[in-house]
């Protein structure tokens, strides 16, 4: 049997589950089983990547002229490997915290599976068409999840998110077409591997590179909530049901950074360098502006939304560092942020369930009343403020060291961002967890996480945060050759 078949299998498993649920299988059970089973092909392809560095599935790349250009080609290398696992595991955890008694459970679980499926497809696709479309496949159900199952101003949030992300995707689409177009006529292809080779050999003229890089930064930047394209993010996450926020903030958002790493960095290096000061300004905006705004939040979900968007600034600092160290840090921080954001939103969801509110002033006494939930709240909080031992710190310290020689001021800003996010997060933890037990928590059935059934998704994410923090080489080892190739002149 050809082991490369495991790649399409990764997409087929959730798809089959979607079909089964649509035909009437028990939604939660099916979705959960499917996301666990999907780890098996995940292991298979990872084995190959670890041994050989990469794995492909699908027909060989061909010229744009000869056949219909869109071809279903999948591939995985050391850079997409951690993102594959992030997607697989966060999907498992997100479906794990999803409630079985939610209204319209069938559609709900289908949407969740589709978000995970779309993210997987986007990280695996070699063909730019699928790369783009899979992301759209993931976006649409996330709008639905917010619009139908969300809370607060959910329609406003869903529509604002739709507007922003669709406009961002549009810019991205133009940029992608431009990239394909920039290749010499005979060598145009939608396979980004081949395209990278071609454009490496015959670089795009510098002036065009600047335009293309600008489009890519704006397009991908919107998806990553880079200031000033960010304002969909905090509200969107605040309104989203917990599993949707986990999947979107934890996984789908990383698509934008992945795209920049894959395409903008190697294909438009000159433009990227030209624009790095603008990106620097924007990421400083993420850190300082959103950091300050997060201090003023009074709803825990909003705070998580702002702080999640804020940390994208540090990842961008890794991207413009121009060193392998900084890029490696960005990759580790992507994974760390994905896990910690997912854990944070999961905790917020449980708090909301138990207290009926996430308004921080109305909460309190979580530590006394629900010690397990408190523990996971602390883990999520400490991870996001960069405490050593957890994944985010490993990424941040690498980014700081990697970017220090090129951008010492931005490193200073990012280090100050750590202080800002500590202020916001510790204040939140204090008002949620300490003090006397609040009436909100007391009046509802404010019991702790109950048994293995409810604890395991939290324990899973926590264990992964520790694993990545203590052994970042799990991510860095396979990614190293890929990242080195990215910034090769």
């Amino acid at each position: 049997m050809n082991i490369a078949l495991a790649l399409p299998l990764l997409l087929a498993v959730p798809l089959v589950a979607v079909g089964a649920i649509a035909l009437g299988a028990s939604p939660r059970k099916t979705a959960l089983w499917a996301s666990w089973i999907n780890l098996i092909p995940g292991f298979l392809v990872s084995g190959v990547v670890l041994r050989r560095g990469e794995i492909f599935y699908g027909p060989e790349g061909t010229n744009l002229r000869e056949v219909f250009p869109v071809q279903f080609r999948l591939g995985l290398d050391g850079l997409s490997l951690p993102l594959l696992w992030l997607t697989l595991l966060v999907t498992v955890a997100a479906i794990g915290v999803a409630r079985a008694d939610v209204k319209r459970a069938m559609e709900y679980h289908i949407c969740l599976l589709l978000v995970g499926l779309g993210a997987l497809g986007a990280f695996l696709s070699l063909d730019l068409f699928y790369f783009f479309s899979f992301h759209e496949v993931a976006l649409i159900p996330s709008f639905l999840l917010i619009g139908i199952w969300g809370q607060g101003d959910r329609t406003g949030a869903a529509w604002r998110m739709t507007l922003y992300l669709v406009l961002g995707s549009l810019l991205l689409l133009i940029a992608l077409i431009g990239l394909v177009w920039a290749a010499p006529e005979t060598a145009r292809t939608l396979d980004w591997r081949v395209l990278t080779e071609t454009l490496r050999a015959q670089p795009i003229p510098a002036s065009q590179q600047t335009y293309l890089a600008a489009l890519l930064i704006a397009g991908f930047g919107t998806l990553v909530s880079l200031v000033p394209f960010h304002s969909w993010a905090p509200g969107g996450y605040a309104s989203a049901p917990a599993p949707a926020a986990m999947l979107h903030a934890g996984v789908l958002k990383k698509f934008g950074i992945y795209g920049l790493l894959r395409l903008a960095l190697p294909l438009t290096p000159l433009g990227w360098r030209e624009l790095s000061w603008i990106v620097g300004l924007m990421l400083a905006g993420n850190i300082l502006y959103l950091g300050l705004a997060s201090l003023a939040q009074r709803d825990f979900r909003w705070l998580l939304g702002f702080s999640s968007a804020m940390h994208m600034g540090t990842i961008f600092l890794g991207l413009i560092s121009g060193t392998v160290l900084g890029l490696g840090g960005a990759l580790v921080l992507m994974v760390g942020h994905g896990l910690s954001a997912a854990l944070g939103f999961a905790v917020a969801g449980e708090v909301g369930q138990r207290a009926g509110t996430t308004w921080m002033k109305d909460l309190g006494g979580l530590a006394t009343r629900t010690p397990k939930l408190w523990f996971y709240l602390m883990i999520a909080g400490m991870a996001s403020i960069g405490l050593p031992g957890l994944a985010n710190f490993a990424g941040e310290i690498m980014i700081f060291f990697g970017a220090w020689s090129a951008h010492p001021f931005l490193v200073g800003i990012a280090a100050w961002g750590v202080v800002l996010s500590s202020v916001a997060m510790l204040r939140a933890i204090r008002s949620i967890a300490t003090g006397p037990v609040s009436s909100a928590l007391d009046s509802k059935k404010g019991s702790d996480l109950n048994g293995f059934q409810e604890v395991w998704p939290f324990a899973l994410l926590t264990a992964l945060l520790f694993l990545m923090g203590l052994v970042p080489n799990l991510v860095l080892g396979p990614a190293r050759p890929v990242l080195e190739r990215l910034i090769q002149p």
């Binding site: 744009l64 002229r65 219909f68 250009p69 479309s133 759209e136 649409i140 709008f143 619009g147 139908i148 329609t155 529509w159 604002r160 739709t162 507007l163 669709v166 689409l173 077409i177 145009r188 304002s231 509200g235 300050l292 705004a293 997060s294 003023a296 939040q297 160290l325 490696g328 006494g365 530590a367 006394t368 400490m382 405490l387 050593p388 031992g389 710190f393 490993a394 310290i397 690498m398 700081f400 060291f401 990697g402 220090w404 020689s405 010492p408 490193v411 200073g412 280090a415 202080v419 202020v423 510790l426 204040r427 204090r430 300490t434 003090g435 006397p436 970042p472 080489n473 860095l476 190293r480």
Partner: protein, 599 residues
């Protein structure tokens, strides 16, 4: 064999913390034993290392790799020099005594599993700082120590004041760490290495003066936070909200002196810049005096001791600033003994008086708790530098270093006067006179777990001056020609007892009232007005801008967009986003088809 002792020393408390957290939470008795035994194991390992580890130099112990990537190495190596070995023995020894004390102190607390898990986490991270062989791994343990301090200060989660104090401690430390990490980055850029063993060689190479000064000051920021020196000293008095064993171990004997230990480690960098050294010396110098003044008007027994801790650490900082690391580390050691003793005695008082901390509500404890009173007096004499107690020897060594700096000599010796004053005030008010309430009337000594550690520390306080510190601190006792500092400092310290005796011998309320001292020079209020409130106002402004201008006006404002939004809403509400999706995908296909034709 001995090469693996450092791993044992570090891993035992870590294992204890993890296993308590994961498995032993519901069994407080087992947790307590596991944690205490782990600490005992660490102590025995440290002692073995101290006596037989001299063969361990740099690099004999294999480092644990963490990240090695693109010219950047962050590995956990172990430093086996005499300083690290001595400090490890000190930390684990004092920690073990405090473990024992905590068994008695928290006897009835249902959450003591959590307490001991956090205490073990602290021991692990503190020993990590001590044994780290480079600045990055030191920073990692530094942060973990900050976490355990935060957790332990906030141990009584249901008390709002504890939560506030814990947050303040963590955040002020983070501000210090901001400077610290920039200093580490700068040192890495300047010298190409942050391993302590490399520093003396690399630091000597020529670098721009301003950069070296900046790096030195950045590293000093870390010390300002952790060792609570001005302007980041505000968290330490508040941290007394934590359980008293915590105040004793973390906020007096070990954690707060980590800053001094770090400064000693990076001394080769600091010494390259005279400006850095003088800044450190003068901040230290003034910080000996100012907290001593504040302590004269405090009424909470733990806060009095906390201010005295600030002042004593400042002596060590000043000594580092004067370039004499030996006396600084010597005073660190003796201070750990007598200050830990004083805090445990204070804890014994608080325990005996049912959580009363105001000295004006105690009184007459000398008769009811004679042992506690005795060790308090012993600790006080050591603290004031009265011979032949341990504090005398170490303070004398520091004063000798100020012989050529009359300004520093004046402030630091002046501080001695006030130290004697407020310590005698505390003793007279709390232990002398008549009991002021029922709790004090029925006070009694605690169990053997409380008294035994105090007795051991009392012995160390007594004979600490005889410790063979010269061998592991590279340090000589001051020479004869500087004896004038000895006599003057001693006279000044003794003079401090006189007014305290006459003012407080029979006082039932404070005869002196100096609001500016009672209110701690209004530093908290000033920080609140100058930093916290404006930042919060600015944050609210930012949030309002974000909410009304960016989200509201830019997104909803324009008419076209508003109409589109109506459409979008309707689609979402009908659940017919499929249509939108179909249209969108169709558009993509059309574009691609066009692309293909063109091609």
């Amino acid at each position: 064999m001995i090469a693996y002792a450092p791993y044992l020393i570090l891993l035992l408390p870590l294992l204890a913390a993890v296993s308590i957290r994961l498995f032993l939470y519901p069994f407080p008795r087992i947790s307590v034993s596991v944690s205490t035994l782990a600490c005992l194991g660490s102590f025995m390992g440290s002692m073995a290392l101290l006596f037989w580890g001299s063969s361990l130099g740099q690099g004999i112990v294999p480092a644990l790799p963490w990240i090695e990537w693109g010219g950047f190495r962050a590995n956990f190596g172990i430093l086996g020099d005499p300083l690290a070995r001595g400090m490890a023995a000190l930390v684990s020894g004092v920690a073990f005594l405090v473990h024992l004390y905590s068994i008695g102190y928290l006897e009835k607390d249902p959450c003591r599993s959590r307490f001991f898990a956090e205490l073990s986490l602290f021991v692990f991270s503190m020993l990590g700082i001590v044994l780290a062989d480079n600045l990055i791994s030191m920073f990692i343990f530094w942060e973990l120590v900050g976490l355990s301090s935060y957790l332990l200060i906030g141990f009584w989660v249901e008390r709002p004041a504890a939560g506030a104090a814990a947050n303040k401690a963590f955040l002020v430390n983070r501000i210090g760490d901001f400077g610290f990490i920039l200093g580490i980055l700068g040192a890495w850029a300047l010298f190409g290495s942050v391993t302590f063993a490399d520093l003396p060689g690399r630091a000597a190479a020529s670098s721009p003066g301003w950069a070296v000064t900046a790096v030195g000051l950045g590293l000093f920021c870390g010390c300002l936070g952790k060792s609570a020196q001005f302007p980041l000293h505000v968290w330490l008095p508040d941290s007394m909200e934590g359980p008293t064993p915590v105040s004793s171990l973390l906020h007096a004997a070990t954690m707060v002196v980590a800053g001094v230990y770090m400064l000693v480690r990076v001394l080769p960098i600091l010494e390259m810049s005279q400006a850095t050294m003088m800044t450190i010396a003068w901040i230290g110098g003034w910080m000996t005096l100012l907290p001593a003044l504040l302590a004269c008007q405090q009424n909470d027994i733990k806060r009095i001791l906390a201010y005295s801790t600030l002042s004593e650490i400042a002596y060590m900082v000043m000594a580092v600033g004067l370039g004499v690391a030996g006396p600084a580390m010597y005073h660190l050691t003796t201070h750990a003994f007598f200050k830990c003793l004083l805090f445990l005695a204070a804890g014994s008082v608080i325990h005996g008086c049912h959580d009363e901390q105001d000295i004006w509500k105690m009184g007459g404890l000398g008769k009811r708790m004679p042992f506690t009173a005795f060790v308090t007096i012993l600790g006080t004499l050591a603290l004031c530098g009265i011979p032949p107690l341990s504090g005398f020897w170490s303070k004398d060594a520091i004063f000798a270093a100020t012989a050529h700096h009359p300004g520093l000599a004046a402030v630091s010796m002046g501080a001695g006067f006030f130290t004697s004053f407020f310590m005698l005030r505390m003793i007279l008010v709390a232990f002398g006179g008549e009991p002021k309430n029922d709790a004090a009337r029925h006070a009694h000594e605690g169990s053997i777990f409380l008294t035994a550690p105090m007795a051991l520390l009392a012995v160390l306080t007594l004979v600490g001056g005889l410790l063979p510190v010269e061998s592991y601190l590279h340090f000589q006792h001051p020479e004869a020609h500087e004896t004038w500092t000895l006599w003057i400092s001693l006279l000044v310290a003794l003079a401090g007892f006189v007014p305290a005796y006459f003012l407080y011998r029979q006082a039932t309320k404070d005869p002196i009232s100096i609001p500016v001292l009672r209110e701690k020079f209004y530093v908290d209020e000033i920080y609140q007005r100058v930093f916290v409130s404006p930042q919060d106002a600015f944050a609210r402004l930012t949030d309002a801008f974000e909410g009304w201008v960016v989200r509201g006006f830019l997104v909803r404002g324009s008419g076209v967009v508003a109409r589109a939004s109506g459409q979008g809403l309707r689609l979402v509400q009908c659940g017919q986003v499929q249509i939108y999706a179909a249209v969108f995908i169709l558009g993509v296909f059309l574009l691609l088809g066009w692309l293909w034709r063109q091609g």
